[in-house]
């Protein structure tokens, strides 16, 4: 139970008093004494009052979405625990239609919520914290669009040699050698492969995103389980699948790697915009030259867990992730 930190006194002449400037999410005891020239009366019975919590703060860069759902994460906004959260959403209207449906999801126990939505719409989502005193004000809202699959890159998984653009969608592998002190590896970072994971895609069904590269950059793009070896190379183990581009002086080479094995193939036109299509239900991961609508390769794999998109640069260069895009028809024939 809370220890009273301080006693506030307010002197009034009326038989009522409004108490303001209370802290959020705090329990107060209130009592009254009467005073006359002789002295102060004993205290009245104590009234207990719980103030509502502070509003939470949605963590924009930790939210992701796909055509049928959104994963929203937030900070509680309160030092002390609250009882639960309410997630509120309203549709901002599809093309042509004007609708403002409001939906509330109550009794959310933790600071994240996977919400079922409808494809091709736009929503405003906000969160309130709840305690016995009632619900807080609404948090600042986040706009979620259910066109395509949208995710941020997880900075805490990035190899130290990778840097990121401000918008968080382009990664760079610089030419300069980092001093050893800068190569501080956290628990979650890749240590050999200059790689980074995207946020988890925790919803069944189909997902599509594109990766933009240039002619010279050697890269690996694909998907990996959350527990993929951080000291391994993408595609070299059983927990990751990727398309790999190798540049030799005379030509481009391509591998589609899983467990270190790749089929033997040749691709005559180098793809600079790669479409990646993941289908959890069918168990397929396909790669396309998105500019030519050309299918390159499909892995057939029964995913036993949800996966993260993964990206790595094998030589100095850059790649840009484009997502929140509707999957072209040809990607899921």
């Amino acid at each position: 139970m809370m220890t009273p930190l301080q006693i506030y006194k307010v002197k009034v002449k009326e038989t009522h008093c409004t108490v303001t400037d209370l802290l959020h999410n705090a329990q107060y005891e209130l009592w009254v004494t009467a005073t006359n020239t002789t002295g102060i009366s004993p205290a009245s019975e104590k009234a207990l009052y719980m103030t509502v919590p502070s509003p939470p703060a949605i963590k924009q860069r930790e939210c992701s979405s796909c055509p049928e759902a959104a994963l929203i994460r937030w900070e509680s906004g309160n030092t002390n625990p609250v009882d639960s959260y309410i997630v509120e959403l309203s549709e901002t209207g599809t093309v042509g239609a004007e609708s403002n449906i409001t939906e509330s999801i109550v009794a959310v126990p933790t600071c994240q919520c996977l919400i079922q939505l409808q494809a091709g719409r736009q929503y405003l989502i906000s969160v309130r914290a709840v305690n016995i005193g009632g619900p807080s004000d609404r948090s600042d809202a986040i706009t979620i669009s259910t066109t395509g699959t949208f995710f941020y890159l997880l900075e805490d998984t990035a190899h130290p040699c990778l840097s990121m653009s401000e918008d968080g969608f382009t990664i760079f592998y610089g030419d300069e050698e980092l001093p050893i002190t800068a190569m501080a590896f956290e628990d979650n970072t890749f240590t050999r492969c200059v790689a980074i994971l995207g946020d988890l895609i925790p919803v069944r069904g189909r997902h599509y995103w594109e990766v933009e590269v240039d002619d010279e950059t050697e890269f690996r793009v694909g998907v990996a389980y959350e527990d993929t070896e951080r000291d391994g190379y993408l595609g070299a183990n059983g927990s990751s699948w990727c398309m790999r581009h190798i540049r030799t002086p005379s030509r481009h080479k391509y591998e589609f790697l899983h467990n270190g094995w790749s089929p033997d193939l040749r691709i005559t036109v180098h793809p600079v915009r790669i479409g990646v299509a993941l289908d959890y239900d069918r168990g397929t991961l396909s790669f396309f030259n998105a500019n030519l609508e050309q299918h390159l390769h499909t892995f057939h794999c029964r995913f036993h867990n949800y996966v993260h998109p993964c990206f790595s640069l094998d030589n100095p260069g850059a790649l840009t992730v484009h997502n929140g895009i509707q999957a072209p028809d040809y990607t899921f024939i």
């Binding site: 033997d264 193939l265 040749r266 005559t268 036109v269 030259n289 030519l292 609508e293 299918h295």
Partner: protein, 272 residues
């Protein structure tokens, strides 16, 4: 252009039929196989032309390749012609397995005594499509071409020599232009050489899928030269995905194993 139905079998919800007709290009009776998917009963369907390899007739593909399920799923008509004119009584036409009967090479011969009948290129690219479009529920603007071995090469040359006619092409194994077509006299050897044609191709973008069995005896005997074709297509930026399939040979078991991938490849464009 009268067609006589030779056979009809219900297959994968549709019908596998064989027809016979008098060919004006080849000046003989020719058979062709046609698979009509269930969708053809109510809608106009796109057409995939399949060219078979040496020694085949219109029967091999329809009985061994297992294409009908995928064709039914994607609503595609598949036409498989014979591989040469038949019964023309030309001296020497039955002497070799890789020349004459069953070995038309999909060229128009220019030398006697072959040039009257051996016009498989015109048959496949002109006469047959006209015949098919006039007699079946087809969408004449959506056709593509595929083949195996001699037919794979034939598919490539038909697509390269007719920019815009075929939406996409694919093949399993493309035999390099043999010396044989020179005997048939198909103009200069380069007129029907896929590698040469690719080097001078300028037309709408193609999308070519090639599967090659790694254990194909023709590959090891240097009868197939995929590296030349790949090099030229890389140079000319003609989109090709070439897959070397370990353990697979030259047979219809190989065709059967990848036919679904190829039909899906065609469906992407034919059904767009």
């Amino acid at each position: 252009m009268a067609l006589t139905q030779v056979s009809s079998n219900k297959c994968a919800g549709g019908f596998q039929k064989v027809f016979e007709h008098d060919s004006t290009e080849l000046k003989c009776k020719m058979k062709f196989a046609i698979y009509l998917p269930p969708k053809a009963e109510t809608d106009k369907c796109p057409v995939l032309y399949w060219l078979s390899g040496l020694t085949c007739t219109e029967q091999n593909f329809i009985t061994k390749a297992g294409s009908q399920l995928a064709a039914a799923e994607h609503g595609i008509i598949i036409v498989a012609p014979d591989t040469s004119p038949r019964g023309c009584n030309i001296e020497g036409e039955d002497e070799s397995w890789d020349f004459g009967t069953g070995a038309g090479f999909y060229v128009n011969a220019t030398q006697d005594p072959w040039k009257t009948n051996y016009r498989m290129y015109s048959y496949v690219t002109e006469e047959l499509p006209k015949l098919i479009n006039a007699n079946f529920s087809t969408d004449p603007d959506r056709m593509s071409i595929s083949g195996h071995s001699m037919g794979g090469h034939g598919a490539l040359i038909c697509a390269l020599k007719n920019p815009g006619k075929y939406k996409v092409t694919s093949c399993r194994v493309c035999v390099r232009p043999h010396l044989r077509p020179v005997r048939l006299g198909g103009g200069s050897p380069s007129a029907y050489d896929a590698t040469v044609l690719a080097a001078s191709y300028s037309g709408p973008q193609l999308d070519i899928l090639i599967d090659q069995g790694r254990d194909d005896q023709f590959l090891s005997a240097s009868q197939l030269l995929p590296d030349n074709l790949i090099a030229v297509c890389s140079e000319k930026k003609i989109p090709v995905v070439f897959r070397l399939q370990p353990g697979y040979d030259h047979s219809y078991f190989f065709i059967y194993s990848f036919i679904n991938d190829h039909i899906k490849h065609h469906a992407k464009y034919l059904n767009a």
